[in-house]
């Protein structure tokens, strides 16, 4: 089974919720997610972010849904790190 371990996203979001609430909401998607958010650009109504998520098995769909739920828009997936692991049943 291939697991996504790290993902770097380019995201556009409104000023609210703020960067702290935004990253917390993404981290809440998984039990072991570690989120690093960098604000790259600030416009009149929006902010461009670099969001890096690390975890044991990242659920991309759930992260995308959390981002759009907070009014954000995913522009691109800039980096991905995946790992193949043997499932132990």
């Amino acid at each position: 089974m291939v697991y996504v371990k790290r993902i770097v996203l380019d995201v556009l979001k409104p000023h609210q919720p703020n960067a702290l609430e935004f990253s917390q909401a993404i981290a809440e998607v998984g039990v072991d997610y570690r989120v690093r958010l960098t604000v790259l650009e600030v416009d009149e109504n929006t902010e461009t972010l670099r969001v890096e998520v690390e975890g044991g098995a990242i659920d991309f769909e759930a992260i995308q849904s959390a981002i759009s739920g907070m009014g954000g828009s995913l522009h691109s997936i800039d980096e991905v790190e995946v790992q193949s692991e043997t499932d132990v049943d």
């Binding site: 416009d43 109504n45 828009s73």
Partner: protein, 194 residues
């Protein structure tokens, strides 16, 4: 997230936190001054039956509440829709299903409730001594005097609240609003036929 925190969050992301506070003070002040005016009006008039005074004041309080709810709701729905559309244009996406869409639908309801409940609750507090007296509770002074005192106290407290928001002397701010109420009372005494 608790209901109160959720309401705070929705008000914050729509930038309406300060609007709610302003509406609370403005309409609360309206409610208190209206009750003060009515009660002083009855006080200077020929002795009216307490139940008539209560019904007139209650009618005015309900009307103030309904006016507060409906006017704020109609205007805030329009404002929030406009703000959401502006944000959607900046984001180039549909935000209806996002927190922003939800906030744009719920914030007008919250604002309308505060705008309507502030004058209603303040009016009901002012009317309390009249009810008590009407149900047979003996007050040390006339219930109209107690109601006037409560109105002045609530107006002073609204001033204190404003002072705390502005981070200025709460006493000075409270006295300022109290002066407005006293001038209103003086004008009523001056212009009503006794």
């Amino acid at each position: 997230m608790s209901l109160l925190n959720q309401a705070r969050f929705l008000l914050r992301i729509t930038g309406t936190h300060d609007i709610v506070r302003r509406y609370f003070v403005v309409n609360g002040f309206d409610g208190a001054l209206t009750m003060l005016g009515l009660i002083i009006g009855f006080h200077v008039s020929a002795h009216a039956d307490l139940s008539i005074i209560i019904n007139v004041c209650l009618g005015a309080a309900i009307a103030l509440g309904m006016s507060g709810v409906s006017s704020a709701y109609v205007s805030e729905v329009a404002e929030r829709k406009r703000a959401l559309r502006k944000l959607e244009e900046a984001m180039i996406s549909d935000l209806n299903k996002s927190t922003h869409g939800k906030a744009a639908r719920l914030a007008p309801l919250l604002i309308a409730l505060v705008n309507g409940l502030a004058p209603l609750i303040i009016s009901l507090l002012i009317l309390t001594p009249l009810w008590l007296s009407n149900t047979g509770v003996t007050l040390p002074v006339s219930p109209l005097y107690v109601a006037i005192m409560i109105a002045l106290l609530l107006i002073f407290l609204l001033g204190v609240f404003l002072g705390r928001i502005a981070d200025i002397s709460w006493l000075r701010s409270g006295i300022q609003t109290l002066l407005v109420a006293l001038v209103t009372a003086a004008l009523i005494y001056l212009f009503t036929v006794q």
